[in-house]
Symmetry: C2
Subunit: 246 residues, 2 copies
């Protein structure tokens, strides 16, 4: 099984975390986003959307991080990360949607403003145009354009943080009544959310949950799990190659 | 089991179609969107997002149409609409994501331009402001604002149609090799897509697939199924109440 990923791409890290929890071995295929390897024809043949992750297993290409998580449950049912009861599964999937539909699109512009803007501005007009013309996802091309041109205002960043904060407040309500997001067992809902907390820490916005005790304790439990260490190992191994200029 | 729905809301119709295919009985709770019943406190207590559908079953509230579809599979496994093989399930879920991530956000502005704009313009400034302040989903509030104010340009509508067209071309490739989207059995992938074809017909954009023979034959098969007639029955029953002015 091969996983195309980047050490710091939140969606890819969901899959890494799931594989680590399940103890499933995989072959790393690191995509250096800083060199636009995700836009190379070889990778676009695997994932025409030009984003990580992509999983190749038994001759099947599985795309979309949430689809990959469910696939791993179907293909490797040992160490289950999907609850047995239908209503708990629905809760798990509802949290996965909160991640995909609210947390992801809200944190992405903040990450772009912080991490991508300097790189976007360093590209020449021609380099940027060439890269954008090869970017299949319009919303990503738009973010690059924004990051290079008009800076994100504090007010705009504030609105995104407010959206994230609302999700965290729902989490607090949920986690007051259960140890994990979908009940008493760790599930794909927790796995999907965790890499975003790692990103919140990178962005220095941990105050988002400093007054949410159940969320704080959930995050502490989450990052203390042995599987979580896989994310730090990937950083040590791949971050230098991803920043060749550093 | 109670389903809060609207006779013409595509996401709700996915669930109606799934229930009809499975032969599961349900109690209709029709939400008249034209009267903003989805923003009434009673409904917001069930679905704080202020959108349909919402399913209430065995004391559980299940939200988000794709989550509801999977829930119905988990709770009513007879007449399965989820393939057995992990890779086929992944393909099914990948199509469900294409619907949610590309088709839905592309067709929504076109529907607003066509169907909602006259209603939006008929509201007074104060009425519109009052309604918007009660709308929890920012993207929906933005669409109402757009529909009432700046009209959608042909160029903009054209871009949305192009996005939909790309999905239909992928469907054609898939359906050249299999009868249904996830293989040889009808699945939640087909169920999720079908109500959008119904909407494309309402919008008069059937030329999107007139030169795609596999897609045309898929749609013909889909609408010929006995379950599909449930959608027409709902229209006959509820459309008049939804348009009290008509």
């Amino acid at each position: 099984m091969e996983l195309y990923f980047n050490w710091n791409a939140v969606c890819a890290l969901k899959v890494v975390l799931c594989l680590a929890e399940k103890g499933v071995d995989w072959t790393p295929r690191h995509i250096v986003l800083g060199k636009f390897e995700q836009l190379e024809p070889g990778y676009l043949a695997i994932n025409p959307a030009g984003v990580v992750p992509a999983l190749v297993h038994d001759g099947h290409v599985i795309l979309e991080s949430s689809v990959i998580l469910e696939y791993l449950e179907d293909a490797f049912p040992d160490f289950a990360l999907r609850p047995a009861a239908a209503a708990d599964r629905a809760r798990m999937r509802w949290w996965m949607r909160q991640v995909d539909d609210i947390v992801h699109p809200s944190v992405r512009p903040i990450s772009f403003a912080r991490f991508v803007a300097p790189r976007a501005k360093a590209l020449s007009e021609a380099e940027r145009a060439a890269m954008l013309s090869r970017t299949p996802k319009k919303e990503i091309a738009d973010l690059w354009d924004r990051a290079a041109g008009a800076p994100f205002s504090d007010e705009e960043i504030g609105r995104y943080l407010t959206s994230i904060r609302k999700v965290l407040i729902s989490m607090e309500e949920q986690l007051r009544g259960s140890r994990w997001l979908a009940g008493d067992m760790l599930s794909l809902g927790d796995i999907a959310m965790a890499p975003y907390f790692r990103r919140f820490e990178q962005l220095g916005v941990t105050s988002l949950w400093s007054e949410l005790p159940a969320v704080s304790s959930w995050w502490q439990q989450m990052r203390a799990r042995p599987a979580y260490a896989a994310l730090d190992r990937l950083r040590l191994q791949y971050a230098p190659a991803d920043h060749p200029a550093a």
